[in-house]
């Protein structure tokens, strides 16, 4: 049986991560005081373990595939085939939110997130979803800022929100 590319890539990533941690560890101080164990020992152990585990995963991938893993065929898992556009819409929502939150403020960022995630899950009513997201974001914002005294950024809506938030 041919090895699955995804398993090989993931196993190699674990090995590479382990090597990267090992390189990073060599920059750390080894001064350990009485314990003779400095801040570099735990990362060194982790680096070694990751390299070994990566090799183990690689071995399993090359010798018949990872053991006891879930089925590769989505149908066998009761699911449909990979829906790339759904994945991208949800990702876009999350990334847009990261970009917006400090500029446009919490409420607008959450409305955008809500609308794009709903789009990813197959909703075709973008304006409606945005409106629901706006309402949800606004109620959360007011509850947190007015009632819990947790500050959230007001952003572009600052004039409308009457100075609430930061």
């Amino acid at each position: 049986m041919k090895a699955k590319p995804a398993e090989l890539i993931l196993a190699l990533s674990v090995v590479i991560l382990g090597i990267a941690v090992a390189l990073g560890t060599s920059q750390l101080s080894g001064a350990g005081g009485y314990a003779k164990v400095g801040p570099n020992v735990a990362p060194a152990v982790i680096a070694g373990a990751l390299i070994l585990l990566g090799i183990w995963l690689l071995y399993e991938a090359l010798s018949g595939g990872w053991r006891n893993a879930i089925a590769d065929d989505p149908k066998a898992r009761g699911e449909h085939r990979f829906h790339g556009s759904a994945f991208i819409w949800v990702s876009l929502g999350l990334i847009l939110q990261i970009v917006l939150i400090d500029r446009a403020g919490f409420v607008l960022a959450q409305a955008a997130l809500f609308a794009l995630v709903a789009r990813g899950f197959g909703s075709v009513k973008l304006p409606r979803d945005f409106a629901i997201g706006l309402l949800l974001g606004l109620s959360v914002f007011l509850f947190f800022v007015k009632f819990l005294n947790v500050n959230l950024p007001a952003g572009w809506l600052k004039p409308l929100l009457g100075g609430a938030g930061i």
Binding site: I46, L53, F87, W89, N149
Partner: protein, 495 residues
């Protein structure tokens, strides 16, 4: 014994103040509301609702958490039975017979046996926690850093290597968590590790960000890609909610047996409610007088696993409160909630903050009662929550998930990490790498490192301290056996 009773009564006097009772009530309602959402397990529910407690005093906050914790579990079993989508691995066994009962028009009794069984096993388990915790505290007070380190290694071994489908994938997840745990300022020397000059990383990676990223964002990405275009079929609740005389007769012994199975699993740091639920399912299947009903919706097959889950989760409070060792993702998130209040669970907690501990234990009893009287009558509301269309549901889950991560430090860096952990969660879900070991590794790793270095500081750097102390040596030996023996058996069997 009499002393314990007195302390518990004092705990009730704290938990039963109107305000604290209100927080318990709010916690149960919110916990059930969020826990009912498909794909949202108790760990995520506690993490998402954490910001709501910022205004409360520690006792009130912990009482609310106890309510959230119980509510989330009950909500999860409702979803499991009606939708057949277990929110966590510990609910899979309940789903087996529960969903079949619902398909046969017996959703009412299935939900009822879950609710009443949870109450029975939760209450018995809480009594056992109350009795056992002071005993463990007595023992734990004699533990030094070497013994703590050994116990943590034991917990690492069981949660990653022993439980789950693959030792190597469990360990990989654990070490990813441990790696995230070393990011930030080293507590012993003050030097920074793997922060890459990002000031926000100096405080380390927050467990809430990791848990919400893996569980909420990862789940949303996965479901959108693989399950957003499926027809979901929700079973309706037809007929009476009440269990017949026959149902009672068959449920009772199952609840009690399951409690006996679940509690020990939870209370030793062996982690995970998954094994006891399947064990209970197997036991009920073996002992039943109606073997022909198994596979068609047998009530014992619901009553047992659900009670075992509850008993085990409650039992997990023993290592969490007395030793500060979490053995499930939910307990890890709870531990982080404790830490946010500057509370470090462990034997000293029982001495220094007795009000808080006994108030919390008393509120567990109250939480169980609240669940029983609130949830069955309100099951109609929870079913409505389940009928929210998937696009709006996940939109809402992600809004609350990002809120939970962002409101910790109002930092965009946390949101970036949240998305990265979401991608990681997607990969782990798709290629069957368990996520709970990573969450436990992140919170327990730094504690284990501190204990190891303390032990070595006392021994002047002599590493034999871990094997010359008899308790530490036996716990480490046991962990080693648990890790290595199954591997050797597998190797030998192949030849």
């Amino acid at each position: 014994m009499g002393d314990t009773f007195g302390l518990l009564m004092h705990g009730f006097s704290i938990a039963l103040t109107p305000l604290n009772l209100l927080w318990g009530f709010v916690g149960v309602m919110l916990g059930t509301f969020i826990g009912v959402l498909p794909g949202v397990g108790p760990a995520l529910t506690v993490a998402m609702l954490m910001p709501l407690t910022v205004k409360l005093d520690p006792t009130g906050a912990l009482i609310m958490f106890a309510g959230i914790y119980y509510g989330a579990m009950y909500g999860g079993s409702t979803t499991t039975i009606l939708l057949n989508t277990p929110g966590e691995s510990a609910s899979i066994a309940t789903a087996l017979e529960g969903n079949l009962m619902a398909k046969n028009g017996r959703a009412g009794p299935a939900l009822a046996t879950c609710a009443i069984g949870s109450f029975v096993s939760g209450t018995i388990a809480t009594i056992l926690v109350t009795l056992l915790a002071p005993v463990v505290v007595e023992i734990a007070l004699k533990f030094g850093p070497a013994e703590y380190f050994a116990l943590m290694v034991f917990a690492f071994t069981t949660v990653s290597a022993v439980i789950g489908s693959s030792t190597v994938r469990g360990l990989t997840s654990l070490f990813l968590g441990l790696l995230l745990g070393v990011v930030g300022i080293d507590s012993q020397t003050g030097s920074s590790r793997f922060a890459f000059g990002v000031p926000e990383l100096l405080d380390g990676v927050d467990v809430v960000v990791l848990a919400v990223g893996l569980f909420a964002v990862g789940e949303a990405l996965y479901v959108s890609a693989y399950a957003s275009r499926l027809e979901e079929k929700m079973e309706e609740i037809k007929g009476s909610l009440w269990m017949s005389k026959e149902d009672w007769k068959r449920s009772w012994p199952a609840w009690l047996r399951a409690t006996a199975i679940g509690f020990p699993f939870g209370s030793i740091p062996a982690g995970g409610a998954e094994i006891p639920t399947f064990l209970s399912y197997a036991v009920e299947k073996k002992l039943t007088k109606y073997p022909e009903e198994f596979g068609k919706g047998a009530i014992e097959g619901v009553a047992g696993p659900e009670a075992a889950n509850n008993a085990s989760v409650t039992g997990a409070l023993v290592p969490l409160l007395t030793l500060g060792i979490p053995t499930s993702a939910t307990a890890a998130v709870l531990l982080s909630a404790f830490q946010n209040y500057g509370i470090s669970p462990g034997p000293l907690l029982f001495q220094m903050q007795a009000d808080l501990v006994w108030g919390l234990l008393a509120s567990l009893y109250i939480g169980n009662v609240l669940l029983l009287i609130l949830n069955l009558p309100l099951v109609g509301i929870w079913v409505k929550v389940l009928s929210i269309p998937q696009p709006l549901l996940y939109g809402g889950i992600l809004v609350f998930a990002t809120l939970g991560a962002y409101s910790l430090h109002q930092s965009v860096v946390d949101l970036i990490m949240l998305y990265v952990f979401g991608l990681l969660g997607f990969i782990m879900r798709r290629w069957d790498i368990p996520v709970a070991p990573a969450v436990i590794g992140l919170i327990l790793g730094p504690l284990a490192e501190t204990q190891a270095r303390r032990a070595l500081a006392i021994s002047q750097g002599d590493p034999s301290v871990f094997i010359t102390h008899p308790i530490s040596a036996s716990i480490l030996g046991l962990s080693f056996i648990l890790l290595v023996v199954p591997l050797i058996v597998r190797l030998v069997r192949r030849k």
